[in-house]
């Protein structure tokens, strides 16, 4: 494990920020920390980065602190520095005083090649976030702690950041917090769901979603649904049938395997004109809302 916490607790006076949090982040994985505002995500990342002391519990890191990097959600830098200087400073502090092309490449990867020699004071929020990512990556950290890394970016910028993060899988360990569940769903291997300082779930996305999904199919027909409903209700492997909209059916089944085997032939035998037929899986947002509500 790259990161392991045991009964990690943080209190600010009477206010509890984290309560007995046991996090395990495997080396080389992309770990997504999700939770509503005030759940303790930033506090957890700040403690792991060594910028805040826990009130109780333990933190075990399999990486020296100089090989870690924390990116805050709204990175800020001295406004009179240029982007290139910020990245050069970050590289120097990480012990990498190598050739300039490295800094330039990182800036280019972050989409800031043309703005590299402009002063940071004139950067937009999205550009600052990109610069923060460049300053984080230039040190080639083994453990990246990213607090809402795509929150200020436009869709194209978000796409690039997600691709960057996904590309790090196996090379570095990434722990990111986000309230954009689609991002977490897309790039993370493991998720931890925090609410009010408590870790409600930790594990793979598959386990989280499969364990909670009710096996069902969504069917869209061009023909009338009534004859199909009657036939479906007589099947032993169908547990319920509903028609939420015209020409659409929601069919709950005993198991997806039964549906995969019997559903298509049955629709064919009924003479139904099928536009689409998809398994209905629970998505992260459903599970998140269920767990945190």
């Amino acid at each position: 494990m790259m990161v392991r916490t045991a009964a990690l607790t943080k209190r600010y006076g009477e206010q509890g920020a984290l309560s007995n949090v046991d996090v395990e982040v495997p080396r080389g994985s992309v770990y997504g920390l999700v939770g509503p505002n005030g759940a303790g995500k930033t506090t957890l990342l700040t403690i792991l980065a060594g910028l805040c002391r826990p009130t109780g519990g333990q933190v075990q890191l399999e990486v020296p602190r100089r090989r870690m990097a924390l990116l805050p959600d709204t990175p800020q830098f001295d406004p009179w520095l240029t982007g290139r200087e910020v990245v050069a400073l970050a590289a120097h502090l990480a012990g990498i005083d190598g050739p300039r092309p490295r800094a330039l490449r990182v800036l280019a990867d972050a989409g800031l090649a043309e703005a590299a020699d402009r002063r940071v004071g004139g950067y937009s929020r999205g550009m600052l976030q990109r610069l923060g990512i460049a300053a984080t990556l230039v040190g080639e950290p083994e453990l990246l702690l990213l607090d809402e890394p795509a929150s200020a970016l436009d869709p194209a910028g978000r796409r690039e950041v997600l691709d960057l993060i996904a590309g790090m899988r196996g090379e570095a360990t990434v722990m990111l917090s986000s309230h954009i569940l689609a991002d977490v769903h897309e790039v993370c291997d493991i998720v931890g769901i925090l609410r009010a300082g408590k870790l409600l779930y930790q594990g793979t996305l598959e386990n989280l979603l499969v364990g909670r999904a009710v096996p069902a199919y969504r069917i869209h027909l061009r023909s009338a649904v009534e004859p199909v409903i009657d036939v479906l209700r007589r099947q032993p492997w169908v547990t319920s049938v509903a028609a939420p909209l015209p020409h659409r059916l929601h069919v709950r089944v005993r198991s997806l395997a039964d549906a995969e085997r019997h559903l298509a032939p049955l629709l064919g035998n009924c003479g139904a004109q099928v536009i689409s037929m998809t398994p209905d899986t629970a998505d992260l947002e459903d599970v998140f809302l269920e767990l945190t509500s």
């Binding site: 700040t46 910028l51 002391r53 870690m68 009179w80 400073l89 502090l93």
Partner: protein, 251 residues
């Protein structure tokens, strides 16, 4: 790009170095000038029929006028500039960038402290040079040895003052609060020196601020040894305490 260069660029690009140099040189030029022409200035303003006679100004008066102005306004500017560099925790995101990349916070504090002190010393030196030139031209020769000794003692005081700023920055987060605590502490020390008399003031670092003016008036350098010794120890103490407190601070 090191943290030393960062602090140098901070002084240069934010025009803070220029401000410090400008303030000290301004008082270096105007101090002796004011002393030389004070009588004429007041005479031209009119005194309502009352004739005021001023003693003939001496070169020591010119230097004393400079140190009087510089130890107040100059010090204020140096404290503000140092506070803006040393209160690096005032913006959390910027503090995260620096703090999460250094093994100890001393690596941030020492360059900020040293560059602020050097800037203050550069200002004092330039101001002294200007005051010397103006005094020699308008009032007469100044003993160079005493002037340089006074400059050295003034530099020691500035080093102490910036040390106080470093300590204040580890107690308060904002630059303004840091400057306020620092100026309050230095003012309190000056008041203590005034109230306590020579037996107290000879030990206090604030006494060094006006040493230049006294030394060119035949003051004895050895009278400042207790304050200089305590100043060095207190500066080191302030820095060590600042580093220890800043290391304990949470973001």
């Amino acid at each position: 790009m090191s943290l030393w260069r960062l602090e140098w660029l901070r002084l240069l690009r934010t025009h803070r170095l220029l401000t410090i140099l400008g303030v000290y040189v301004f008082f270096g030029l105007t101090g002796p000038l004011t002393v030389r022409y004070l009588g004429q200035i007041l005479g031209s303003l009119g005194t309502g029929g009352v004739e005021v006679e001023f003693p003939e100004p001496t070169p020591a008066d010119g230097i004393a006028q400079f140190t009087g102005d510089a130890s107040q306004i100059g010090l204020l500017v140096v404290v503000m500039v140092a506070a803006s560099a040393l209160a690096f925790d005032s913006r959390r995101e910027m503090a995260v960038f620096l703090r999460s990349r250094v093994p100890g916070v001393y690596r941030i504090i020492l360059p900020a402290y040293a560059m602020s002190t050097i800037a203050g010393f550069a200002g004092l030196a330039c101001g002294t040079l200007a005051a010397w030139y103006e005094t020699v031209v308008l009032l007469g020769p100044v003993p160079i040895g005493s002037l340089l000794t006074g400059l050295l003692l003034g530099a020691l005081f500035l080093a102490f003052a910036v040390g106080v700023v470093a300590l204040s920055a580890s107690l308060a987060k904002g630059a303004l609060a840091t400057a306020g605590i620092s100026l309050g502490s230095l003012l309190g020390m000056a008041i203590a020196a005034g109230v306590g008399g020579p037996n107290v003031s000879r030990w206090l670092p604030t006494t060094l601020a006006g040493a230049m003016g006294d030394l060119v008036r035949q003051g004895r350098p050895e009278d400042y040894l207790p304050a200089a010794g305590l100043c060095i120890l207190a500066t080191a103490g302030c820095l060590l305490a600042a580093i220890a407190l800043a290391n304990r601070r949470e973001l």
